[in-house]
Each structure stands twice: as C-alpha cells, then as structure tokens.
Symmetry: C2
C-alpha cells in the first residue's frame, strides 16, 4: 500500500428533492451567484425554473453564464471570469454535468486573482484561492461533483488538459436523481461508460490496495447491472439514483486511496478523439478502452483475468475484453471508430495528434511505436 | 436508495512515517495541546517519545491526560475537561485506539461550554462546538479516527451509550501502520472482529444500496484474507497497512451512504457483555454476532445466503454463520461465553442487564422475549 492523504471536504446532498436545499445552501455561501450552465436543456426540463425560484426566494442575486460546450473550452471560462469580476459575484453555482462543473471550477480559481484559465491548466500560473462552488448535477458520469479535478480544451493548441487544486472541491453538491430523468438514452449510456472508465483507470493505476480494487470491481458490477434497467426505464428513481451514486463513487477517491494514482492513458486517447471529431467523451472511451486492454493484455494478464472473473464470470483476458465490448455495444456506445464514420483516411490525422499530445498514461506508459497498433484496434 | 448527506471533513494522513507530520499539523491547529492516551503502552513502544519530540520541536505546549480505560468512562472525560479548562489548552491530541479517540471527542465537546460528558451522551445538553482534535491511531479497529461518533460507559447507571456530532470529526487523523506493530495478537484479532462487525451492522441496516453492500462484502473478504497474515507476521508493513485502512473504511460512511442507518443491535448486545464483565469490545462482538445471525436467519435468509456466497463460497445461511464462527475462532476471538468463563449461572444477570439496557438495534428490533434465545446461542 502506498502513502496517501484522504481529504474530501465536499458536502454531498443526495436524494429525492435535494434540489430544494439549493436556496438555503446558497444563502449560507454568499449573496450573488454566477450561474453557469450549458446549452439550455435545463430551460426545457424545468430545472432552470426551479433553481431561479429557489435563489429568488433566498434573495440571491443571479448573473448567468450559459452556453458551456460539452467538451468545454478555456475561452468560456475566461469570459465567465470577466463577467464574475464585473458583476462582483461571490460564489459560482454550476448546473450541469462534467463540462459545466469543470468550467465552474476553473472559473472559481481565475476570478480572485484574475488569472488566465489556460495558464492554470498548463501550470504557468499557480492559483491559491477560489470562489466557493455549489454544483447541481444533471448528468451522472463525471465524478467532478465530488473531487478537485477539471478538464478543459484549447482548440488552437489542439490540447485537452486536466488540472486539480484543493480549492476546487465544490462546497456543496446537490445530487438529485430526478434531475437526470430527461438525459437521453445515448448520453445516459455514455455516462455509464465514463464512470466505468474512471473505475478502470484506478484499477490499472499505480500501487496495490486490495480494498480499492474490490471497490472498482463492485462499481463496475453494479453499473453493468443497472445499465439496461435505467436505459429501459429512464424515469425510475431507484435506477437513476444508483447510477448517479456509482458515478460519484467512481471518482471521489475511494478507488485510489492506497494506490497513489490512476493511469489515465485511455482518457488521453479519448481526449484526442474528442479534440479532433468533437465526439462525446463517453463514446470516445468505449472505443479506446477495449483497444488499450488489448495492448496491455500480456502486461496485465492476471489483473484482466481477475476482472473478467469478478465481472463477467469468465477466466480469459480475451473474454474480459469481449465482455466490455459486448456491454458497451449493448448499451449503444460505439466500440469502433468505423461505427461513428471515422474511416481509415483519418488514421494519419489521429496518429499525428496522438504524437502531438504525447498520449501516454501516468503508470502504463504508451510508446509512440504502439500508437498505430492502438489505432488499428480502434478502427 | 435513501436520501443522505455525505460530509466527512477529516483529513487522513495515511502511511509510513506519517507520524512525522504530527508536529506540523499540531502547529497549524493550535499552540497548547491536551495529550490524551491510555494505559501507557505508548511509553514502552517508543510512540510517546516520538510524539513528545515532534510537539516540542514545533513549540507546542503539552498537558497530559493519561489512563483512559479500554472501555472508556465518562468520568475520565470530565476530568480531562477540567484539566483542559484549567490549563487553557486549545486542541486535543488523542493517541490510541477507539477508547482514547472517543474520550477525546467528547472531551473536545465538553470543554468550550463546560458541559458534563454524560449529559451529552444522554442528550440532556446539546453542545454546539468543540476543540479541534488530532488523532494518532495505534490500534486498527474502531473507525473512530474518521467519523463523528463516540461511545462511553457509565458504571453507576450500568449504561454504555453512543453519540455523534459534526464537530467531533477529527481535524487530522494520522494513520501510521508501523504504530500498530506492537499490538498483541489477541487485540489485533479483536480489532479485526470489530471492523467486520461494523461492516455487518451496515449490511443489516436500513435501506437498499447495491454499492454500499458490495463495499461491505469487499471489506470482509479483504479482512479475512489479511487476518491470518497479520497475526503470523505482526511486523509486516503491508499487512498492518491493509488491516488499518480496512478498519477505517468500515466506519467512515462508505458502507452506509444510500442506506440511512446501520442496525447496531449486535453492538448493543456486546456493550452489555463489556459492561458486566469488562471483556474487550471485539471479543464481545465475536460472541454476539453469530448468535444474532442465528436469530435473524429466517428474516434475512437471502442476505445471509448472499453474504455466504460472496465471502465463504457457501450457499446456506447456516454455513455463512459457521463460516464466521470458524473464522473468529481461527484468529483466537471467542465465540461462546463459556470460552471466557461466563457460565450458566450468569445468564440471569445478562438477561436482567439486557432488559435494563433495552437491547435492540435501530432496524431489526430485538424483542425481550428473544433475549433468552440470544443468550442460549451465546452460551
């Protein structure tokens, strides 16, 4: 087991009607909120109205920053920063999935010391404080609602980078499963792929910790059990609740304590695909993970076998990989580039971008010579 | 799944030589510490010297309160309070296992508003604040190092009560596995029983949450795997580290989020045995749990079967119970009262005390008419 520090100060308010706590929590946090959200789906499903009502009832002034993209860009964060500074807001309320919450985290960091968002992502400037953040989760996938990490894109530099800071833990996270009822089938599936990928990144990370690995296996088993149920019955509270809590649990730390760090090589590959073709994060991972497992089959044979035994009741690494492919396919997430109309003619472009991004992984280093193999597996 | 709030602000510093962080952490917390510990074993194994050295190096004044009993009593907490008030200490450092940490938590609560410890345990007075607490764990068992709960005894009233308060979360918990090397074989085993019992109390608690139950099964599987190893090689870092982290994980919340509350009926029974005969907490639980499972065999047949399947590879509730009995016995923890020389002549006394304490459980209510059955199973 490795040394570690366990600290997660986010207060999670999970459950039916927990959205009704927002007004009170906001009032205890500040008086003027920058409300960040995405493309506006919250205006169609009633969530926006509920939130505005809650905040008005608690005399919270609201400044809105809408339009965060699903693969979020640093420019939006800088614009949100300017708005927050100009209007003198003292907290950020993020309503959405990982893209909105990640953008809110970096916005919270850049406001107090008027920094540039991309400079933070690249480590050029070091923030020391942040505005308090309250999140209202509307998509089960990211885990960002209960950790200190954020990922942003920079299209000019064709880069997608992750960054973490202790000041980025949301102060409060409202997890109301009913707010995810309106997530469409495909994005529900991508969210499940994403959470499983987070668990796997921990599993193939550094260090040995039996309980951490068993928690990963448990998360994957439960996700696979609930996935078809929630896709068939999207308005079933219990199914949505389980998937929501599994997604949070997959990236709130309990899968890595005792293990130092996750691998994140597959996320690196997925980021390249999202950067080039703007494909949903989860869809990029259901394509990249089987390919990565095939490449790592010999190196991690024992572990992949064990995973198969625990999750798919099989005993061969090949069967484990087929198991994941079959599951991703069954829930409607692509497992090959060809399925999303990315043909052979794009392989050079993908290879080039992988080299540019130095796609690797913290633990299981990917070498350039293996990039073409990975692309073939993904084809 | 049930609604819940997840908030655990304790910062855990886990690992080799994490004890060396104490001075720095204490300095950031206050300037004068009430150092609480137990019977003085820390003076023989070098832990005391390390701590005193660390605190001196960081100019922390130290006032000592030693002699906390292994089944801690409220009088000690009141005495510690008087000492803390008299000497004007601004933090408490608890060095020990659950007894010391629990005493420190209630001491931290009674100091600021000069309350009575037992009044807090019984709910007669409601504390609102606490001195900050730093714990240095020397026994893997309690989980108290990362939660808000404490248990104290009152011999005059023959009562043992639990209490929890958000101000009781330790600010920092130092979990250095090497500090548990000198724990003798029997107490190492009792600690393992205790952590398994905590996991089971969650398992048979209220509400349904798949991931919570799987985490319980995972904790028990890992504990059973590491128990013989650590008993054979008490100075093996990795074995001690795993058991230590399993014990913390069994009661830091992850086994109950989504489930409302644990049952705690078996702890109620164990508390009666400890009250009457001062037997170690873990030993009382290895006697009480099999008896309780026998009583609940029909009510919880499916769940006990599943537990058996997951943990002991068996498919009958009876075999699950035998599995636990066999395991407890194998690690040297008693499973019958007769093994610790409590014969039939004591049964009336036990029955009387069970009635007096209204032994029950929050979820699976035990009725008085079943007390004799339980005692027979424990005999």
């Amino acid at each position: 087991m490795n040394n570690f520090t366990y600290f997660n100060p986010t207060k999670v308010h999970f459950g039916r009607e927990s959205i009704n706590k927002l007004g009170d929590l906001a009032q205890k946090t500040g008086s003027k909120a920058l409300l960040m959200y995405g493309g506006g789906s919250i205006k169609n499903n009633g969530i926006y109205d509920k939130i505005i009502h809650q905040l008005a009832e608690n005399s919270i002034e609201v400044v809105e920053y809408a339009g965060i993209k699903s693969n979020p860009v640093y420019q939006d964060v800088n614009s949100a920063r300017d708005l927050a500074i100009k209007t003198n807001t003292d907290m950020i309320i993020a309503v959405g999935g990982g893209s909105v919450i990640d953008s809110a985290k970096i916005a919270a960091l850049v406001v107090p010391e008027k920094m540039d968002a991309w400079d933070i992502m690249t480590g050029k400037t070091k923030p020391t404080k942040a505005l308090p953040i309250i999140t209202v989760l509307t998509l089960a996938a990211t885990g960002s609602e209960m950790n200190q990490f954020a990922v942003l894109q920079n299209h000019e530099e064709k880069a997608k980078k992750g960054f973490g800071h202790p000041a980025c833990y949301p102060k409060h996270s409202i997890l109301d499963p009913e707010l995810t009822y309106s997530v469409p089938k495909d994005y529900t599936a991508y969210g499940i792929v994403d959470l499983i990928a987070h668990a796997l990144e921990a599993y193939f990370g550094d260090g040995e910790c039996g309980i951490a690995d068993r928690i990963v296996e448990s998360i994957i088993k439960e996700s696979i059990a609930f996935a078809p149920k929630v896709l068939n019955e999207p308005n079933n509270y219990d199914y949505r609740a389980n998937i929501m809590w599994l997604a949070t649990s997959a990236l709130n730390g309990i899968t890595t304590y005792g293990k130092t760090t996750g691998d994140w090589g597959v996320h690196d590959i997925g980021h390249v695909l999202s950067l080039l073709y703007d494909i949903p994060h989860g869809a990029s991972l259901s394509i990249a993970y089987p390919a990565w497992l095939k490449l790592m089959k010999n190196k991690h044979e024992d572990k992949i076998n064990r995973l198969g035994e625990e999750v798919f009741d099989c005993f061969q690494a090949d069967d484990t990989i087929s198991g994941f492919e079959g599951f991703f396919k069954a829930i409607g997430s692509p497992i090959r580039l060809s399925e999303i109309n990315i043909g052979k003619e794009k392989h050079t472009e993908i290879l080039k971008q992988m080299k540019l991004n130095k796609v690797s992984g913290y633990v299981n280093k990917l070498e350039e010579k293996n990039y073409p193999v990975l692309i073939d597996f993904m084809a």
